[in-house]
Symmetry: C2
Subunit: 646 residues, 2 copies
């Protein structure tokens, strides 16, 4: 017994913790000793005799039991806390996570970069986080004694699922255990009705709601809110589970039964006539600094998050108001970490809060590839008391696609694998697979994130991925520059812009779009260019040249105007009608008939995000300089007469 308890101490003493978790590998080595002498030599020099390692390994198993016997105080003392000893790396604090699903798994991945140790409490032996966690305690996060045991081993306690034993968390906080976010936050969020009450008390806009205790109450709610009526159970509701819709008073009883009856604890929400669902990940540090990630659009399939578009394709004003609501909602809750705020955007431009998750969220998966700091690293930074990182996007657009189980068992795996194979052939797609041992319909098995230079581009790539036949690189290239002109008579001039773009391998499209003769075409072209993935528009026109200015008024993209010399006035009319735009509508005007410079200007603009293009542009400038120098040399050598008459 003594040897055991001492081995427990050594397990928990910081300097030995790491080796302890390697015990099984150590013992593998102890047997490989018998294999040859070279190995023996090397193992002799290893800091930890394998025999001792074996004790430690077994001690690791006995641990939870011993923990029960010894008093909480004693065990806490032996457990690592953020404040003991010098910090060798990013943080010595062991982060305890209640739940070991895919969110826990991705937390472990972020933690491994910084060598932050994560302990996971999850009942499933082979839960997604298990293989990556520093230590996985197999047990329920809804089980008080388990959670207490677990807490003793962590420097800070956090969650990847909100349906945990919150009463125990509150008790542990009393005892000084550090929970982030706070138990009070988990309690509010666990109960959807409580959540609604809380946020309405904090003046956060949300759909009208009321508790219902019996059929009468339900009917009153129906009369008050109208139909369809959303009925929800207060607790243990997620991924649409715990929601039922009654389209008429007649359907109320069946809906209530479907949710397990009134005893389950039900409430109703007025139907929110939303046009889009939005979400905002909000991070709060221990210093109460708050940072918001870009607003995204979430698209659900059968109530399960299926596609996330980042950033959401909504106006800046809506994005600002959505961010404000999310910021306010999270400010009303206690504790550090990332929070996901799900929102409704209604037809009349209202932002209503749907619900909040006190943890990383499906709507933030894309941040791993698209943002400077992923929501997972951010959550760890927040709960471990490190400064928050930059939440903004490092690539202009991203789209996330959940790989949901299409079928049970083997055939579900086969279908998923076919999708993954196609995803791997999309050059800017990243495949995440959670390694869940069992496949079930609608189960989240993995996800794919595609990043790119515009939403239009990544949506194209996703379409290609979802097609049955494998997509290929070229098919996915979208034009970055649109060359348009008022009439085909401008083409002999405008072709020079296309030549330059060819030279620099910039994908482009050429179209005839007349402001005067095909105003509708011009309108739809200009107003759709951005979402189609066009980044620069080159517009050429002659005479009373209104095309460039009109297009510039209809798009936020930079528009380059090329004055084309028409019959009269030597092109001065075109030049002045293109360049002399009123305040608010800029057109980048180049010299008359000089579409070459328009092409070069487009390349310089694209160089802002593509440093290779800028490097090629300097090279181009270098080369042209050398051409001029050669000519100067020739003139020097031959003299001006023979230069003029070779």
């Amino acid at each position: 017994m003594l040897s055991q308890s001492s081995s427990v101490d050594s397990l928990l003493a910081p300097d030995l913790r790491f080796r302890a978790c390697l015990a099984p590998r150590t013992s593998a080595s102890s047997l490989s000793l018998s294999m040859d002498h070279g190995t023996k030599e090397k193992l002799r020099t290893s800091p930890l005799p394998s025999s001792l390692a074996l004790t430690k390994q077994s001690s690791k198993h006995i641990n939870p039991v011993l923990g029960c016997r010894s008093s909480a105080r004693d065990t806490r003392e032996t457990s690592p806390r953020k404040d003991d000893g010098p910090t060798h790396g990013v943080s010595e604090m062991i982060v305890g996570v209640l739940g070991g699903g895919q969110l826990g798994r991705m937390l472990c991945q972020a933690a491994s970069k910084m060598a932050i140790k994560i302990m996971v409490l999850d009942p499933l032996e082979n839960c997604p986080a298990s293989a990556l966690a520093y230590y996985h305690m197999v047990g329920s996060f809804d089980d008080s004694s388990m959670v207490q045991e677990f807490a003793k081993r962590c420097g800070v306690l956090t969650v990847e699922i909100e349906h945990v034993d919150v009463a125990t968390l509150e008790m542990l906080e009393q005892q000084g255990v550090d929970c982030q976010p706070k138990a009070s936050t988990i309690r509010i969020i666990q109960d959807k009705y409580l959540q609604k009450v809380h946020f309405s008390q904090h003046a956060i806009p949300l759909p009208e709601f009321m508790q219902i205790d019996d059929l009468e109450g339900a009917k009153r709610a129906g009369d008050l809110f109208g139909y369809p009526l959303m009925i929800k159970s207060k607790r243990l509701a997620y991924d649409g589970r715990g929601n039922a819709v009654a389209n008429s008073e007649e359907e109320l009883p069946s809906a209530v039964t479907a949710l397990g009856g009134f005893d389950r604890g039900l409430y109703v929400e007025k139907w929110a006539p939303f046009v889009k669902e939005l979400a905002v990940i909000v991070a709060r540090g221990r210093d109460d600094s708050i940072l918001c990630y870009p607003v995204v659009e979430t698209i659900h399939r059968e109530n399960i998050c299926h596609i996330v578009k980042a950033p959401a394709n909504v106006t800046w004003d809506i994005r600002n108001r959505a961010t404000d609501v999310a910021y306010k909602a999270v400010s009303s809750l206690e504790g550090a970490g990332v929070f996901a705020v799900e929102l409704f955007l209604t037809g009349d431009g209202q932002i209503l809060l749907n619900e909040v998750a006190p943890r990383p969220h499906n709507s933030g998966h894309h941040t791993i590839e698209s943002c400077y700091t992923s929501q997972y690293e951010q959550h760890l930074r927040a709960v471990a008391g490190l400064p928050l990182g930059d939440p903004s996007m490092k690539s202009p657009a991203a789209i996330m696609y959940n790989i949901l189980g299409e079928d049970e068992g083997e055939s579900g795996f086969v279908l998923a694998h076919q999708l993954i194979k196609r995803a791997l052939s999309i050059p800017r797609a990243t495949v995440h697979w959670y390694d869940k041992p069992e496949m079930r319909k609608q189960r989240k098995m993995g996800h794919v994130t595609i990043v790119g230079s515009s939403l239009g581009e990544v949506e194209e790539q996703l379409k290609a991925m979802l097609k049955e036949e494998c997509s290929s690189y070229p098919s996915a290239v979208t034009p970055h520059v649109g060359i348009i002109m008022g009439s085909d008579s401008d083409l002999p001039v405008m072709k020079d812009a296309a030549r330059i773009l060819n030279m620099f391998d910039v994908p482009y499209e050429v179209k005839i779009v007349s402001a005067h003769r095909t105003p509708e075409v011009m309108f739809s072209y200009a107003s759709s260019a951005w979402e189609r993935g066009i980044q620069v528009i080159i517009a050429g026109a002659g005479g009373a040249a209104h095309l460039p200015g009109m297009v510039a008024a209809l798009t936020p993209l930079p528009v380059i105007g090329v004055p084309v010399r028409a019959s009269a006035l030597d092109g001065l009319d075109s030049l002045l009608s293109i360049v002399q735009m009123p305040r608010g509508v800029p057109v980048a005007t180049v010299a008359i008939n000089n579409a070459t410079n328009a092409g070069l200007l487009a390349v310089r603009m694209l160089g802002i995000k593509d440093v290779d293009l800028l490097a090629r542009m300097s090279q181009y400038q270098e080369d042209t300089k050398n051409d001029v120098l050669k000519k100067a040399e020739k003139l020097e050598k031959d003299g001006w007469e023979s230069y003029l008459n070779p």
Copy 2:
């Protein structure tokens, strides 16, 4: 015995492999059974009775030994191969990695995203990869029987260090083991002299070299190549170890002794008078498709890679030629995977090959944050036979800083932690810590990667990080737009551009730079703007306005020209002298005195890489539209007379 061997089979049968590696956790749960009934319930439902799991766990340890007893053929059959069974996720192939250092660790991190299982062979129990590997066999990768045992358990065998037992790899290849890259490649690269011979035979430019067997030979080499003379040992040389410089014939004996004498196997290289060291990561798939990463500049400290700048700040022509040499070098080697090609750039613009590594490399760490596909995911894709991903950069610039041990032991840890603390406060920095148990001087303990919109910007951030006092966000912001004007008399006009940039929160600088009165200032400003992080230049000038054109000729950045109305000609002179530029030098010209449009145009240009700016621009357009509509309404309501005379 039977039970053991059967448990070995079950360990290696694909469906049980995953659980097997979780055995220790299973046993933890078996003990937590005694804790309470809730848990018991949950554990009953778990697919694997813990008793069985315990057998499996022990079997895991006996495994290597059994492997020895049974014939190679038998064991190979029980071991997972890429071809057996349906693939459930990204790949069922177990990737065996010889070596478990930081490169192996980062391979494991990339693998965990795709749930690809990595087995590591490394003599150190607590090597950096150990905690993340699916299975870590403790033993030497330079030990034949160990490598053979290890190979049996892998679907493909690869390396994270080239100093492995290559004879065994060749033998294993004979037996049908799948090594990527091929043993032949490792053999060539292990011996630096052989490597030089190989590449010179393939007409790849490299410094002259010759083998030396005795002092006479060394002197002959000295006479031939001159001094300083680089003497290198052929084998087991890395991070500068195995190199010695003789500055004169007198120093030859001491240099040779320093390298362990001629018996060690020595050769000399002619001193390469390089101005920069470059590196290119090249990936080759099993289908022989080859993709090259951007050329980077590597800066060494005491022969150890210290800083990597991506992309290298060299001309496009040099980048092309460096990429060509790297491509040719890797094409001459066999097998799939990523390769690092280290190059010298000489004063006269020559590219010379220094050496090649057949694996991920320090010069490619930055790809984790800065490229669409990291070198680690790429290596896994390559060796596992998956299609290669896009190697290009998703952020315009990145800088990688190695955290090297500054001191032995505790004080070294403390110094590293101080650096990490500062790094965490840099918003776009990512900290990697390898969790090496022991700190030594010059040892690679971790690294920091900072990504940003230009090399100038990330270099500024790195400077801030290396300062003793903690740097803060604002101090690190570099101006993105340069507003310049020919004289202060232009300021009343040009201020409008600054106002717009303020409105959109775009950082900018304002300077007076005259093409005619301060040509040197103009020259240095224009030619340094790009590397300082400026992305757009707004140049205003009146009269004979040469400033915008001159600046556009000296930078690859987009230049916006604002014609300022001077005394005469109502500004038409300025307009024409700015817009009518010759082919090759574009200036984006706006209306006379319309610096507002210049500012808006700059914002639209920056919007190409910052989608938020574009969204704000649309909002701005929406708002101005509404202003106009309000005025129209007012005119409608009040009539034109009272509109004019309120």
